[in-house]
Structure formats: structure tokens, C-alpha cells
Amino acid sequence: MLITGIKSRPVYDRLAPFSDALLHLVVGQGSGGSAMARLLADIPAGAEVEVMYSTESFTGQNHAEGLATASPGHVCRFASNADLEQALQVRLARAFMGTRLYLAGSESFIGLAMKVARQFDLNADEVLREHCGSLVRRVWCVHCDAYNENITQRVFSCAGCGKPLVVRDHYSRLMGAFMGVQGDAEVPGELPDASDLDT
């Protein structure tokens, strides 16, 4: 759970089984694997369960072995969060009402996956999110639409357009990321201190 004074930052949940699901879709990344394994142990035997896991991790956490043991069925593994995002899109497009989605991992990953979930109009009574691992921020550049992952500094160069961005303390649910705006737009070269983010 992240604790900051940023009101827009999502309040995350602790994964626990929905009682009324026809299909439990358990999806996560890196250190989220521990929360996924705990959830899988709590889902009643015989329930329909599918597991998708990306081994991409900022901190090097890999729970693939533990998940394979905890899961009643096959665990679909992905080498990157982007691959998992694409597969989630395909899976949800052929899913039916009665599906419940569980997300576990970094804030960057949860933001990525929520953008997919929102296309299917999934609400708080159908998707649970548990934050695990590092507190790095995902930052969306308002100038070039690029997503910058794993940002830890207040000021950084946008990977998309190279502009020096200042990270605003505002989380956009629509974009699933913090917003980054050019820091020296008024006076070129004059930037605030590149302090560590309060994450």
C-alpha cells in the first residue's frame, strides 16, 4: 500500500476472492506474484481460474515457480509487461459477464492493466488491485503522449520527446499514470531541483 498525500493516487486493495465469480482471472507481474499465490490459495477448489504472470520486474522479483505450485491450472508466462498487456486485451475481448479480474504488481503495471480493464467497463465490484514491490512512478508526458516507466526523480528527460519534465503530484486515472509537464517552458534552462520523488 502506498502512503502519500496525493489524493488522486489510487487506493489499492488486498486481493481476496470474489464470491460470485464464474471465472477468476489472476494477473500480475514481478513482486505481485506473492499476492497472486496468496489469493490462489484462498480461491475455493473447483472454481474456474486462469493465471497470467509477467516476469518483468524493476527489483528482480520472480515468483514464477511459486505460482506454478499455487495455481490449480496452467500459468501463462510473459517476458514483458507489454506482452502481458496485449494478451490481457485478447483474453478480456472473449470473456463473458461473470469474469472477475485481480491485478497485482507495481503501480506502473496496475496502471497499464487498468487501461485495458477500463475498455471493458470493469468497475470496483469486478476488479481488485494490490500494489506490491517498488514505489517507482509511471509518468505520462502531456506533450508527446509517451509513458515513462520506473521514474524516481522529480525532474527527468522524457523518453519520448526529450523535454525536461517535472512530475506533478497528480495521478490520472484515465491515463493510468502521473502527469509530466515541461519544467522550463517559461524560462528555458531554469528547472526545479531533481529531488527524489516522495513515493
Binding site: 460470485d20 464464474l22 478480456l92 459477464m97 461473470g98 472477475r100 468497475n123
Partner: protein, 323 residues
């Protein structure tokens, strides 16, 4: 609380009447100044002021069925109900040229526009909000289907009108011939991101909700609107402690309607005991209170500390409230 005698009613003229079945009448209501009525979204309803006699001023709620993209007039459909308070029977006596007062539209049954597929289940006169709702979805290019149940073919005039307008997405079922709709087959294995909208009799709403729940539908994707019929009771006196006014509530009129008829505006939305807007503190009552709402907790009802004047009443005597 204001004491504006208009109490929010907009004057309109009945400009066309279409008796589509022996029991269902469609009325066209046009603004008196020749301008436009307030804009609305599909699923909205208005209340119509009905003055049965010198002391019986009712306000009945009806869904708008005309186009949300043309507010030069509204259309409502009114089914004649035998028994009850007589509001619908009054509307069935109106003629073109008659004048009415209506409230601004309120929408407690809106389209969830981000949905992937919109499924409507309607019974009887519950079909009316579907006209503007489907028009909105059609304009947005959204996927929708409607399942409409009518008892007999001769009751199905509005359903056929809907089918004519929106084509093969509208399925009309005559339950006297084909039997009841199997809601499970409508709701099973529907694409993730679907929404269901239920409008019809209370028993139908309860059955569809239970079916959706059993099929794993989450509550945020199940929407319904039910118009409760106003219960009649005993006449009683309603004393407003802060204003120092005492009003007579006739047997067939709700306390909210009495307040409105006397130029006293209090907040309301649903007029069916569900939304909580009109919750009023009770100071004293010398008869039992009939709590007909689903808003107050059982404990509050037992304590009689509050009541909902849109739908609840006292069983005679004097009721003193904090207004």
C-alpha cells in the same frame, strides 16, 4: 425551503393525443411560450401535476419517450390504472389544448455509455424510456438489444413502434402466446462489459436481478427503474414546526404533494422512497407512521425519528415535522 407558488412546475399544453391501445395514451406536451423545454437524457422522467379537485393535487412520475434531440416538445405514455388514486384516469380524460404543469426532467436511469453491449428488458408500459435511450445509443454507434414482453398482441402497439424504429435489435414477445421470457438465456454468456437495464413491474425487476446475480453479473452492470404506485391511506394533519403551518393531507395525496401544492419546495428526486432526498425529521406523531420507503433503516423506522414524505404517511391524527 422556498415558498414559490410555482414550485418548479413548467406550464405546458397538450398538443396531441394518441390512444395507441384502449389503455395506453401517448400525450405530446409543448411549452406555452413556443420555445424549448429543458434538455434531458434517455431514461429521464418528469412529474405531471394533476389537480383532481380543490384539495387533491397529485404529482405522478412518467418517463419521457420523445427524442432527447428535440426539446420543442415532450412525449409521455400513460397507462390507465383502475383503482389507485385516479391520476392516470384523469390524464385519460384530457383533450388537445388542455394545460398542465410539469417538473423539469430528472434521470435516475441513465445509459452507461462506456458499456460494450446494452441489453434492455422491459415489460408493459416500462418500455417508454427505451425510445430515447435507444436513440442515444444508435447515435453513439453502440451495440444494443431490447427484449420487450407484452401480454397480448393488442397491448403491443408501443413495442411494435419501438421495433419499427430500431429494427431487428428489438425482440417483442407476446407472453399469452409464447410464454414468459427466459431471462437466463438473455443474460448468460454475454460479452464482458455488458450492461442490463430493467424497466417494468416489480416482480419482473426482482426476477431479472436475481437471474443476473446468479450468472455472475456484478451489481454495477445491472440497472433498473421501478415506479411505485402511491398508496392511499387515512387523511391526517401535517404540522410544520418551524414554519408554524398546519396542512391537511387528504387520503389520496402524499405529504410531499401537499407541501408542493402549498408552495413549499423541499428536495426530492425519485418520489418513490428510494433516493433519500426528501428525508424529514419527525418531532411528534399521535398515530402510527406508515413507512413505505426502502431508504430509511429498520431501526430509524422503528424509532419513527424520520420519514419520507414522498411515499410514507401518518395513519390519521397529527404529525409534527421539522420543516
Amino acid at each position: 425551503m422556498s415558498t414559490d407558488t410555482a414550485v418548479g412546475l413548467i406550464p405546458v399544453t397538450v398538443t396531441a393525443i394518441d390512444d395507441v391501445t384502449p389503455d395506453i395514451r401517448v400525450l405530446r406536451l409543448s411549452p406555452e411560450d413556443g420555445h424549448y423545454l429543458p434538455g434531458f437524457s434517455g431514461g429521464s422522467h418528469i412529474t405531471v401535476g394533476i389537480d383532481l379537485d380543490a384539495e387533491t393535487h397529485l404529482r405522478n412520475a412518467y418517463s419521457l419517450m420523445s427524442s432527447p434531440y428535440d426539446t420543442s416538445h415532450y412525449e409521455i405514455a400513460v397507462r390507465r390504472v383502475e383503482g389507485g388514486r385516479g391520476g392516470s384516469r384523469f390524464i385519460h380524460t384530457l383533450r388537445a389544448g388542455d394545460r398542465l404543469g410539469i417538473s423539469s426532467p430528472v434521470n435516475l436511469f441513465p445509459i452507461q455509455i462506456h458499456g460494450k453491449l446494452h441489453i434492455f428488458i422491459a415489460g408493459g408500459i416500462g418500455i417508454t424510456p427505451l425510445f430515447p435511450q435507444l436513440e442515444e445509443l444508435e447515435r453513439a454507434g453502440a451495440a444494443f438489444e431490447a427484449h420487450v414482453s407484452c401480454r397480448h398482441p393488442e397491448d403491443a402497439a408501443l413495442a411494435h413502434r419501438l421495433a419499427q424504429r430500431f429494427g431487428s435489435n428489438v425482440h417483442v414477445r407476446h407472453t399469452s402466446q409464447s410464454g414468459r421470457q427466459n431471462f437466463g438465456s438473455v443474460l448468460a454468456r454475454r460479452p464482458l462489459g455488458s450492461h442490463v437495464y430493467i424497466c417494468g413491474p416489480a416482480a419482473m425487476i426482482a426476477e431479472v436481478r436475481a437471474t443476473a446475480c446468479a450468472l455472475g453479473w456484478s451489481g454495477s452492470h445491472v440497472h433498473y427503474e421501478e415506479f411505485v404506485e402511491q398508496k392511499t391511506g387515512k387523511a391526517f394533519d401535517l404540522k410544520l414546526a418551524r414554519s408554524g403551518i398546519t396542512l391537511r393531507v387528504p387520503a389520496q395525496v402524499s405529504p410531499l404533494e401537499v407541501l408542493e401544492a402549498n408552495g413549499i419546495a423541499i428536495p426530492y428526486l425519485c418520489r418513490g422512497g428510494a433516493c433519500g432526498q426528501c428525508e424529514t425529521r419527525v418531532l411528534q406523531s399521535d398515530s402510527a407512521l406508515e413507512h413505505n420507503d426502502v431508504w430509511l433503516s429498520d431501526e430509524t423506522k422503528a424509532r419513527n425519528s424520520h420519514f419520507m414524505p414522498c411515499i410514507s404517511r401518518a395513519d390519521g391524527g397529527m404529525l409534527i415535522v421539522d420543516l
